[in-house]
């Protein structure tokens, strides 16, 4: 059994540094690097024991802190006449801390917006299965994203029969084959088909994958377009030049 101990909840190395700077009441523009680094290392020693994966981000920052300290200790090369004043090695870190701090503040205010909004209830649990009129689905108000398409593809793959043994074999289809297959299927169905109908008849995952790639290729060529009638609704695949062929 693994015990997970929640320490002070830091979102990352910058968050921890801001905390240490505040706790020690030091000047952000004159950070005592060695002292802050010492405390920082103490902390990551603890998280390393608890959460090795999460610790890696913190270790990178520890290395950065030590590098800054080393830079500050090294004798500076003599400044030439025209040269600008040398940058403090800590400046880059301060800039990052300030930028992170800005977004941390915004995130806090957004949490307020969130809780205000959660007091307002809208009507919901609408039935998602809205009847689709096959020729009436194109609505510019709706938009789909590549993410929707990938999501739908993942669902179809999950529906496909699972194969437990694995034989190495030549893939029996090519992108070109499947492009022809898609176009043929579309032509047989008045130029449009539901995305799942297109892939459902294919029994092998690899053929589904090749067909999906072929669909992406057809979209890229502009021969086919894809649209979704509602959020989480069905995705239609449509032959772009179908109507002009009639």
């Amino acid at each position: 059994m693994i015990y997970r101990v929640q320490l002070e909840n830091f979102e990352g190395p910058l968050d921890l540094l801001l905390y240490l700077i505040k706790k020690n009441e030091v000047d952000l523009f004159n950070i005592p690097i060695s002292e802050i680094t010492r405390q920082y290392l103490e902390y990551i020693e603890i998280i390393q024991m608890l959460d090795l994966e999460g610790a890696s981000d913190f270790i990178l920052m520890a290395a950065t802190l030590i590098r800054i300290k080393a830079k500050m200790l090294l004798p500076k090369p003599p400044v030439e006449m025209d040269e600008e004043e040398e940058e403090d090695p800590r400046d880059e870190l301060v800039r990052r801390l300030l930028e992170y701090q800005r977004f941390k503040e915004v995130a806090l205010k957004m949490a307020d917006f969130e809780s205000q909004r959660q007091l307002l209830y809208t009507r919901r649990y609408f039935n998602q299965q809205v009847e689709l009129e096959p020729h009436d689905w194109w609505d510019p108000q709706n938009s789909y994203t590549l993410f929707d398409l990938m999501w739908a593809f993942k669902e179809i793959l999950q529906r496909a029969p699972k194969v437990t043994q694995h034989n190495v074999e030549q893939i029996p289809v090519t992108i070109d084959d499947q492009i022809n297959y898609i176009l043929k299927q579309l032509d047989q169905n008045e130029g449009q088909l539901l995305f799942y109908e297109l892939l459902e008849k294919l029994k092998k995952r690899i053929i589904m994958i090749v067909t999906f790639l072929s669909l992406l290729e057809l979209i890229r060529r502009g021969e086919v377009e894809v649209t979704q009638s509602s959020t989480f609704g069905e995705i239609w695949v449509r032959r772009k030049r179908w109507t002009s062929l009639n």
Binding site: N9, R102, M110
Partner: protein, 212 residues
Amino acid sequence: MDVSQLKPVVEAIIFASDGPVTPRMLKNYIEEANGVDFEQVIEALNHDYHNSGRAIQIVKVAGGYQMTTRPEFAAWIKKMYMGRTSNRLSRAALETLAIIAFKQPISKAEVAAIRGVNSDGVIKNLLERRLITISGRGEGLGRPLLYSTTPEFLQYFGINDISDLPKPREIEELFGEGKYVDQIIEALSSGDASEDESQEDSHQDANQQSDA
């Protein structure tokens, strides 16, 4: 049709819709409403609801109008929905959303650089909750995917437009003229998650002073 005739029509559409209805949609649905300012119709409806002590209101969100219950009834509705309401976003999710909202379109790597931690998992969750979406590819090395916020993001936070979000204070503002180091430290400390009222006040004071 004038405002009083339009009121019930607009009310019916907004009631029956499962999402915010934009003025443009209303214009499409109600052909008789040529040139009417829907803002006026909504105001009149809200006025009616208020005067007759109704529990509903119409709010402007994500560029459209949506019917909601009034906040003072949340306690009871919450009981009805017990266990079915969505969880609040984590601090990591809020931070990531704040960065994406102001820097969009932005890549995963840029988000991680600002937060100082790997943000892949958070971004995946936000995508699944549809608060962000993939909006393109960057020009940089490996042409990374870029992320932007969605209309669902606006709805989730109950805002009409991205510009309604609190603005991040400019770095220059945080720096002041280089003399206000104490104020900056103060401002930094007030940003802590465990802040209380008095710290919040001093933070605002610091803001006003640097403005002056």
